[in-house]
């Protein structure tokens, strides 16, 4: 099992999102900045800061739902449907303690009926799709409140 994208999240029992923190003003950015995108990726987003260096930091692994929805039709490529026929999945925007809202799919087995604005969720890592290298994993949001 390998993450579908490198450097965005840790794996294991208590996975976390990985962010970049400006070494000058401490502003936190997700997705993390990467040299793949060139030097400009390292310019701090805070207009009051001219920092150009970032540390890697882990974000809190629990948050509150900002909003949520689902995909009832198969999204177009480059989305890769893990099943044929396509099975709908839920999506959530989640507010983390760092004052940042992060979009993600919702953990397998959960739908919009399990979510509410403000509801608690935690980060999990699950299989997004399988390709020639094996299972490719992605972070997802799992509801932790009582099921409706």
């Amino acid at each position: 099992m390998t993450p579908v994208i490198e450097g965005w999240f840790t794996t294991g029992d208590e996975p976390r999102l990985l962010a970049s923190r400006c070494t000058t003003c401490s502003n936190v950015v997700f997705p993390p900045v990467s040299s793949d995108a060139g030097a400009a990726a390292f310019y701090c987003r805070n207009p009051a800061c001219d920092g150009q260096e970032h540390d890697a930091v882990e974000l809190g692994r629990t948050g509150r739902v900002w909003s949520y929805t689902d995909a009832q039709y198969q999204p177009p490529a480059p989305y890769i449907a893990p099943t044929d026929p396509f099975e709908p999945f839920a999506l959530a925007a989640v507010e983390l303690p760092e004052g940042i809202v992060v979009l993600g799919q919702v953990a397998a087995g959960y739908g919009v009926e399990d979510l509410k604005v403000g509801a608690p969720v935690e980060l999990v890592v699950e299989t997004l799709n399988v390709d020639e290298t094996g299972e490719r994993t992605i972070y997802r949001w799992k509801p932790t409140g009582e099921r409706a």
Binding site: C25, S26, F30, A71, P78, Y79, I100, G118
Partner: protein, 394 residues
Amino acid sequence: MSIVIAGAGMHPWGKWGRNFTEYGVHAARAALKDAGIAWSDVDLVVGGETVRNGYAGYVAGSTFAQALGWNGARIATSYAACATGAQAIDTARARIMAGLSEVALVVGADTTPKGFLAPNAGERWNDPDWLRFRLLGMTNPAYFALYARRRMDLYGATSEDFAQVKVKNARHGLENPYARFRKESTVADVLASPVVSDPLHLLDICATSDGAAAVVLVSAEYAKKHGIAQPVKVAAVSTVTPTFPNTVIDMPLLATDSSAVTGVPDHTFKESIARAAYEEAGIDPSDVDVAEVYDLSTALELDWIEDLQLCRRGEAEALLRAGDTTIGGRIPVNPSGGLACFGEAVPAQAIAQVCELTWQLRGQATGRQVEGAKVGITANQGLFGHGSSVLLSV
């Protein structure tokens, strides 16, 4: 100092399957005819770029100018995603206000594919517009649905409210000769259409269309010389960008800025778009008689009504239910029928909003006229931080 909209013209929206240049020239000629101004008098052409029509689309200003017959005019081409038209208008306005142009023609036209708008081909692991599909399967309607669901959970909006926006706009657009969909919808029709992204049904979400719109902008002096008696004036054009931190998730991004360092700002990006327009014009939201807003989804119209300060946050459903946003009500919204009746033709759409308000303020919007309208505002937002709001007055 203000500038004047001397003419407005459109090519009907639809799925015509023809070249965008044809639509653009049709709209341009209609706008020039409406203005009573000859093409040879135009000294500036600003085109709205289309990214789906090859090189001719990237240099849309020159494509339209050449198709109309080279007349030596200066040219510019603007791109600001859905806000392209407003930016094109702003470019023309700035040159006129600087005394560098007297008569400017602004044109936007597009052809669009069927179905979900998908990203360009190829693997781009640094492009959020590619990553959102690859990693999350996050389509445009899914973003619209996030905003819609928030209205339900925070303000008590219902699927029936969203459907009612479609019912209203479908009725508004019935008599609009440029609208693509001219058919009444019922709440039951909307609720019976398939759910695309919960809570939004297919009929809550706008289609993509072919279409074109154009305006002729002139200096106040030229308008006077030309004998335009009651000119529709451009009171403000707001093309503001967000202010850090942008704390509302924006298509196509996967996350917001963090508010930890500076705190949550007083106004969201969408609120700031309208605030900049009101401030520039010296016009108060309570002075607005009519609004054309970007109803990519039915629920988004309700967000815009609040962003434009036409009511307080969380009160747009009450306005809708009271009929206030229907023609004949206190503050009619989308009398053209909006995107619900047009479908989106990206570089043309913000110009089309201005065309509609021009006809409304002149009292020429046959079959959909907002009686006595003196002040109108448009609102829209383009991907990657492009604000768009135009305030018109007579």
